[in-house]
Every structure is written in structure tokens, then in C-alpha cells.
Symmetry: C2
């Protein structure tokens, strides 16, 4: 019988608002059992790029992580955000351990290959170190991952936090019974993006295909959904999407994804 493990990804929009973050961390710290937190970066990295007088590099509307941007991302994600979240969880009695993918070699990645776009120092996850992460979990610690990985050749890499959460869920699902939760600014997957009450309660592979084909799910939600269904296909037991209060109140609407 596998132990239950909950992996919670909290989005940048929660990170951006001190009160929302505080409320979320209070709820997260009250969770029993084995838990992992993955946090996005929010606006602080872009703000810092601008404060330092750097010009964000964009190619075809996609942000490029050049060397200067990677430094800022490393400072903001792994330093400012990760350590303040960790200290706040410690205050709330949660034995948080802030991590990047380089720490204890937890998340290895490949620098994204250059095709028509060179994304720069961006990593695609190659492997998750179940052994290291299990050491932490079994010691009663709560790993808190920021969105940075490494290539085992000394290079840190900027990596999408949604992907990190899905990769951790996938990698750990052989050993644990994993539930993956995406806590973000919406109440779940919405039938109408402008109507917060239009939450689709459950989506499976077949209905997902229809929702995609009919354009109900599009744009920003697509990469997140692809991550989720890939995780389910690779053994993750359950994926939930909803607003951060989902952690304490499962009476409210949210979206459950299944195969």
C-alpha cells in the first residue's frame, strides 16, 4: 500500500498578493500527511529585471532567459520567494525545506534545444530524484520547490513551475499515491473564462478532447492541461484544479481531472 503524497502548485497570482499568500500558506501548513509545495515566481522577477535596468528579452512574444535574466530569476525564485515562504511555513509549524532542483540533485533537466527560438537558460525536466525527496519526506520535512532545475553540469535552468509540479508528481507516483493540486486564481477549469461560476466539475481524456476541439479550453490553460493529462497517463492518481481555498474546503466548486 503506497503512502499518500499531496503535491500542491501555487501560482504566481497568489504569490503576488501578500494577504492571499499568507492565507494560502496557513491552509497549506495545516495539511496532514506527506506534502510538497511548488511555487511560481509571480511578478517579482519581472519587477527586479526592470529595477536593475535590464531589458526583458522577447522573441516572437516568448520570454528568453538570457544570462542576466537567469541571475535575477535565481535571486528572486530561490532566494527572496523560496526563503520567505519557507520561513513563513516554519512559523506556522510546517517543517518546510526550500529547494531548487540543484539541491540534493532533486530535479535534473536538459537545456532546451535551440530550434527556431533559442529560449536561453530554460530547462526541460529529465529526471526527478525520488531517493533524495523521500529522505526529506520520511524525515517529516515538507519540500518547497521553486522553479529552477540544473543540468548536472553546473548550470541552473529556469523551468516552468507547472511542469515541475507535474514532473514531481509523475516521478514520485511509482513510490507514492500522488494527488496533484493546482491552486490558482480561478475556481477551476471554466466553461466561460469570464464567469467564475462556470466551473467544469470533472474532465476526462475524452471530454478534454471535445473541450479542446470546441475551443472551450484554449490559450493559457492548454499547457497546464497537457501537463496534467501527461501526469495522469504516467501514473498520478488524481489531479485537482481550483482556487487556493480548495486546500481547506472541498465543498466549493473545483475541477477534477481523470484519465
Amino acid at each position: 500500500m503506497k503512502q499518500k503524497l499531496r503535491i500542491v502548485k501555487v501560482g504566481g497570482n497568489v504569490i503576488n498578493h501578500p494577504e492571499a499568500l499568507e492565507s494560502f500558506l496557513t491552509d497549506f501548513s495545516a495539511l496532514k500527511g506527506l506534502n510538497i509545495l511548488v511555487h511560481g515566481g509571480g511578478k517579482r522577477a519581472s519587477q527586479m529585471v526592470s529595477d536593475l535596468g535590464l531589458v526583458p528579452k522577447m522573441v516572437n512574444g516568448r520570454r528568453i532567459t538570457d544570462a542576466a535574466t537567469l541571475e535575477v530569476v535565481t535571486m528572486v525564485y530561490a532566494g527572496l520567494l523560496n526563503k520567505n515562504i519557507t520561513a513563513s511555513l516554519q512559523q506556522k509549524g510546517c517543517n518546510a525545506l526550500g529547494l531548487s532542483g540543484a539541491d540534493a540533485n532533486c530535479i535534473q533537466a536538459h537545456k532546451r534545444a535551440v530550434t527556431d527560438i533559442d529560449y536561453g537558460f530554460v530547462g526541460d525536466v529529465a529526471a526527478v530524484n525520488v531517493q533524495s525527496i523521500s529522505v526529506f519526506l520520511q524525515a517529516g520535512m515538507v519540500p518547497v520547490f521553486c522553479a529552477l532545475t540544473h543540468d548536472q553540469k553546473g548550470q541552473l535552468l529556469n523551468t516552468n513551475a507547472d511542469t515541475i509540479a507535474a514532473s514531481l508528481a509523475t516521478g514520485l507516483s511509482a513510490t507514492y499515491d500522488v494527488e496533484l493540486l493546482y491552486a490558482f486564481e480561478k475556481n477551476g477549469v471554466l466553461r466561460d473564462v469570464n464567469d467564475d461560476h462556470s466551473v467544469i466539475a470533472s474532465i476526462n481524456s475524452a471530454s478534454y478532447q471535445i473541450l479542446k476541439d470546441t475551443g472551450v479550453i484554449s490559450e493559457g490553460m492548454l499547457p497546464k492541461m497537457e501537463n496534467c493529462f501527461e501526469a495522469l497517463q504516467k501514473g498520478v492518481a488524481k489531479v485537482l484544479l481550483g482556487n487556493p481555498t480548495l486546500l481547506r474546503n472541498k465543498e466549493q466548486p473545483f475541477t477534477t481531472l481523470t484519465l
Copy 2:
């Protein structure tokens, strides 16, 4: 029989020079047995304060850690430096785990009391979490500490890296046979600060008192020496001071401190 544990503090002057840092990390990664690294901040934090257009707060010639400075220190120490050092050690086959004192509640501190000077968000170490650190060491990980602690009330605190190294050595000496090494820009404690060949090979409590009274040891070296002798008095087996190559070559001059 206690296990041997080596705690190495590497100073800011090594951190400041990429080649010196690379060489040091290569030597450190080759060490066998149980090891902990503590690193200082170097010039990057001051540089970042200036890049962000902040004005360093000084009172009576002492640097004050105000809220803005703490943010920069958290970004540079726990983010930029700690994660790049960790990634570099991982590349060299050393299973580094980058930590602040908040992570897994490793190092608890009190905000320094305001007397004639309010140092701001500066922490004096209160306790070291032997249990958490032992989990890492016994799993074959190499903790890499930056110079940040927390107060368990959600507040990160800027803490002198020499003090962190001495506090870790002291706290862990009940469980481990601890050797504390300070790797810095000099060849050891010098009889004449301008003569790198004037290394004093060994100093004990009695000779330290004489060296202090006669002014041979003064100014910048005093707090480091006080930390070292306090650590020895509290059970640390041995303290060595020397340049970073001391890690691989004990034929060269260096200073050994004993009670």
C-alpha cells in the same frame, strides 16, 4: 566513537573571484567523509544594493540591515550564490544541498537587541537543529549554508557567516567529532599582516591572550578568533585557519587553534 565531521567556512574574498571559487569547490568536492560548507556573501550583495540604487545604511561605521538590504541579502546569499555553489558542487560529484537557517529549521536566531545601535534584521544564533542536519549528513548529502537564519516567527535574519560556522561546529560537536576550518585569503593567522610568510603555526588560549594583549591580533581577526575559541571551549575538537588550498595540501603553513 563519534563520526568525524568537517565544517568548512569559505570567505567572501574567495567567493569574489570565479577562478578561486572554482578551485576551492573542486578541492571541497574531493573531501571524503561528512562535510558541511558555510559561505560568506562577498561583494555581490553590496554591488546589488548599489545596482538597485539603494543607499547602504551605516551607523557608526557599522552596516545596518534594513528591510531593503535584507531582501537583497536574501536574493544574493540564498539565491544567486548558494544555488550556483550547489549546482557547481553537484557537477563535481558532491551531493550538495543548499540551505538557509530557515530550511528544515536548521539554524534559529534572535533578532539582535537594540542597544546604542539598531542593527536591523541581524540575527544572533540561538540554536542549531542537530536532528535535521543529521538527516542530511546520514543520507550522504553535503549541507551548504549561506549566512541567513530565521527567528521561527517568519522573519529571516542576516547572520555573520563565521558565526554560523562556529555555531554549527559547537552545536554538532555533542554528536560528531568536529573539525572547523576557516578558508580565507590569508595563509593563516599572521604575526605581521603584511607578511604572508609570518604564519603562526599554533595558538592556544594562553598564547592567544598574549597575542591580543601585544596587539599582534587585532581588528578584523578578533571576532573570528573569538568565535573559534568559543567553539573550542564548547567542545569542537580542532580549528584550522588557512588559505583555501589547505583542503588538499596540509604541507603548507596554516594555523591550528587549540584550547
